[in-house]
């Protein structure tokens, strides 16, 4: 699996607006070029659309938009990182994803207190990798906080399925 003998877990490093993020290899199903995305009306703003990956239709999230950075056009280095959590498969669009790294559990520090509550929820920790500071993402949490909240009682009474998601 993703853990080697010395207790270091394997990660995929992605870049986003100049910062390096790490995703656990075990959470990643595959890496793809960003292909044609089909926009989904009334989906949350950070959802760039849906795409077909090996016969399945999955949502693609712009991590830039999700983290409050400006979107940029996709280029040859852009990647769709397909992650799996709690039975869902979701594509994360990142600026690039080229490196693998083993990060020993002992070198991972908790995120600093100064972060907003939302960011710290999907940040599992931070690690110093040579010169670089790497932010380790918690995929399950990342997908969870992006879910639309369950409709309120009033909204449900108005027959939930036709209403735009409130995010």
């Amino acid at each position: 699996m993703g853990v080697n003998a010395s207790g270091a877990e394997s990660y995929v490093l992605c870049e986003l607006a100049g910062t390096t993020y790490a995703l656990r290899s075990d959470d990643i199903e595959q890496l793809e070029m960003v292909g044609q995305l089909t926009p989904v009306p009334n989906a949350p703003a950070f959802v760039d659309g849906v795409t077909s990956v090996r016969g399945r239709v999955i949502p693609a999230i712009s991590l830039r938009a999700r983290f409050g950075f400006e979107r940029q056009p996709h280029d040859l280095r852009s990647r769709l990182v397909i992650v799996r959590a709690e039975g869902r498969a979701v594509g994360l669009i990142v600026d690039n994803a080229r490196e693998f790294a083993a990060i020993p559990e002992a070198t991972i520090h908790p995120p600093p207190d100064g972060l907003s509550e939302l960011s710290s929820r999907y940040l599992r920790g931070m690690a110093q990798l040579g010169e670089r500071l790497v932010l380790i993402l918690d995929v399950a949490e990342l997908l969870r906080v992006t879910e639309a909240p369950s409709p309120s009682l009033a909204a449900a009474a108005l027959s939930a399925e036709i209403l735009p998601s409130i995010v």
């Binding site: 989904v40 399945r56 949502p59 999230i61 909204a155 009474a157």
Partner: protein
């Protein structure tokens, strides 16, 4: 979790856990079936064959549960075995004993479910004590009756001989796909499996001991030995301990075994994989078709004809494969109906009402996924009918009805949809009472009587219940919301008809299959979208002169009717290209029509429907997605939801006053000015 599995062994057991669950489901179904049969014939001496089958199922459940370390289930099954033993030789089945067996079955199910969900299993203690008490009481009442019966056990079919088999599972075998289930199927081809006893070996690991009542003239295949199965040398004819022959005229179990061996149990995930692959093939074929069309100029007519013919043949064959795979997924709805019979027992006891359950169309086949998802909603409707619909015996007789109430469950196919009905001959829904209650709860504001649609909306509102106190069976006011949401999530719709004093009928319409369909491809702005052909009534060019503004709606005069329009470009924010002649798709039922305004109509295609279940992309008006021949994903329109959107506008306007401060989240559909941006 595993109490006695300990250490490395427990991980070994985990590999068999799926087998365990499917085995348990099967044996629990057997237990339920026999218990119902015993109860129906409670006045007669319990049938020895049935009791034996019941003991066998319980014994296997006990053994399997012990093996996965589920000691609660083991104890319950053991206590139930004792209870079954006490039934043998009784002249009639004592009610308290049957009752104990029924609660035992529920408890066993709960234990297995807890293992599946990883939650704490219920404690078997109180149940074990209860069975012991019941047995002691019965023992005191009559001691000799149970004695003579024990002799009739050991019933064996004519023309069979009993053989033992041992199966030692291993990781290597599992990797080759050889598991307990496969071995069981093989043994079933020889005859009937009379017992399955899993044992933990001294050397570690487990071994399954099967006793098989093998029909004359069949023998195991030597190649099976390579799959971890072993047996005593096969001496033809006289071999093996031949069981005693009881009734020469009853070739009891052979037909059962023969049926069972014809059935292959397939993991639904594997079928889904297969279906997905067929889906990919359909897309590839469409791509090929387009290439063939394009190639027509660059080839000799004869060569192109051949190519085109081959392409068309593949398309036809693919259609046949697709239908074949889809048929595999179809199962008869009857098994769900049978579960209702079981649930009805509890309901009848809780409510003290006499209720007769009537079925029709049990053979109607429906997608396995739909069947599984419909179990809870149907159960809820049946409970509702029993609890709210059927009156007490006294009330019924006073109203000139038979004392026993009837609930009918019906299924039938109608085109490519399935219609399910739950109908009772009870009191019917008191529209005025529901209306009053809805007003009290602030669900509606008008003083008018509720129309059938509005009635259903109110019944299905979260928190609605006419009951002042909730009982076990129903009345908690959450169920109907879930019922309707589940049905709609499957692409179906719920209807209600009720006549005060005569009864209520809930009608559920569901799609037969969900996966591949013929669809019209359209363009809205620069986006291609698909709409299933089946929902289309007519396609018209949009004649601006035929559009009228009526109050807040844009409506179209269509065949003498007034049809509300939905401008999809505006609704989805896909701006129309200027100068495009637009079209109107007429969709909906005779009762509720709507016109969907689109830009271009590109043509009919066969599409593979992918669900868009992820919460990020499950948006209103979109039923799914599909991959077109160019590899791009297109969204599939949810016509039913769009029609509902227009239909509910009026009702919504009233409902919106429910919480005056709430934002008008339905704005996109309720303010049609936006639709004509």
């Amino acid at each position: 979790m595993s109490a006695d599995g300990g250490g490395g062994g427990s991980q070994f057991f985990e590999e068999f856990i799926d087998d365990y669950f499917s085995e348990c489901d099967e044996h629990l179904a057997t237990v339920r079936r026999i218990l119902l049969a015993l109860e129906t014939a409670a006045g007669e001496p319990p049938d020895a064959t049935r009791l034996q089958e019941l003991s066998r199922a319980l014994h296997t459940l006990k053994g399997l549960s012990g093996m996965v370390g589920l000691s609660s289930a083991e104890e319950v099954a053991h206590a139930m075995e004792d209870a079954v033993r006490a039934l043998q030789g009784e002249t009639s089945a004592p009610a308290e004993l049957l009752e104990a067996l029924f609660s035992g079955e529920s408890l066993l199910e709960a234990c297995v479910t807890s293992r599946r969900d990883g939650t704490a299993p219920p404690s078997p203690g109180p149940y074990v004590d209860r069975v012991r008490d019941v047995l002691r009481l019965l023992e005191e009442e009559s001691t000799e009756a149970s004695m003579q019966a024990r002799e009739s056990v050991g019933l064996q079919a004519v023309g069979t001989s009993s053989h033992s088999f041992e199966f030692v599972p291993s990781a290597e075998l599992a990797a080759r796909g050889v598991g307990v289930e496969m071995i069981r199927q093989r043994l079933l081809s020889l005859g009937e499996i009379t017992s399955t006893i899993p044992r933990v070996r001294q050397t570690g690991g487990v071994v399954f001991e099967f006793t098989v009542s093998v029909r004359d003239g069949v023998a195991p295949i030597d190649a099976w030995r390579a799959d971890g199965l072993s047996w005593e040398p096969w001496l033809p004819e006289s071999a093996g301990p031949v069981g005693m022959v009881v009734h020469a005229s009853r070739p009891a179990s052979a037909p059962i075994a023969a049926t069972a061996s014809n059935v292959v149990r397939v993991d639904l995930a594997r079928l889904d994989d297969l279906m997905r692959m067929v889906g990919e093939l359909v897309v590839s074929r469409a791509r090929l078709g387009e290439s063939v069309t394009r190639a027509s100029g660059g080839m000799t007519p004869n060569a192109w004809e051949d190519l085109n013919e081959a392409n068309e043949t593949i398309e036809r064959q693919l259609r046949a494969i697709r239908e074949g795979v889809m048929r595999i997924r179809l199962v008869p709805i009857g098994e769900v109906f049978e579960r209702m019979r079981f649930a009805m027992r509890d309901i009848a006891r809780e409510t003290g009402k006499a209720i007769h359950l009537e079925f029709s169309g049990q053979d109607t086949e429906i997608d396995k996924l739909v069947v599984d998802r419909m179990l809870e909603p149907l159960l809820h409707l049946v409970r509702n009918s029993a609890s709210h619909g059927i009156e007490s015996r006294a009330d019924r007789i006073a109203a000139g009805k038979p004392g026993e109430g009837t609930i009918s469950l019906r299924a039938r196919a109608a085109g490519d949809r399935i219609v399910l009905e739950v109908e009772d001959d009870g009191a019917g829904i008191d529209v005025h009472r529901v209306g009053r209650r809805a007003r009290e709860m602030g669900l509606v504001t008008t003083a008018e009587a509720l129309a059938p649609d509005a009635l259903l909306d109110v019944i299905c509102s979260p928190g609605f219940s006419t009951r002042e106190t909730a009982d076990m069976a129903s009345g908690r006011g959450v169920g109907m919301t879930v019922v309707r949401t589940t049905i709609r999530s499957l692409g179906g719709e719920l209807f209600v008809d009720s006549v005060l004093g005569h009864g209520t009928r809930f009608t559920i319409e569901l799609p037969l299959t969900l996966m591949i369909t013929d669809a019209l491809i359209l363009e809205i702005g620069d986006q291609a979208m698909a709409i299933p052909q089946i929902v289309l009534r007519e396609i018209l060019p949009l004649d601006p002169a035929a559009v009228t503004r009526f109050e807040n709606n844009e409506v179209l005069t269509y065949r003498g009717r007034v049809v509300p329009l939905v401008n999809l470009g505006a609704l989805f924010n896909f701006p129309s290209r200027p100068g495009v002649a637009r079209h109107v798709l007429i969709v909906g039922s005779d009762l509720h029509l709507a016109g969907l305004v689109v830009d271009r109509v590109l043509g009919l295609r066969e599409i593979v429907v992918h669900p868009v279940a992820d919460p990020l992309i499950a948006v209103p008006g979109v039923a799914g997605a599909t991959e077109l021949a160019d590899g791009r994903v297109s969204l599939i329109l949810d016509a039913a939801a769009l029609v509902r959107g227009t239909r509910d506008r009026g009702a919504r306007a009233a409902l919106r006053t429910l919480q005056p401060g709430a934002p008008n989240v339905a704005g996109a559909l309720t303010t049609p000015e936006h639709l004509w941006a």
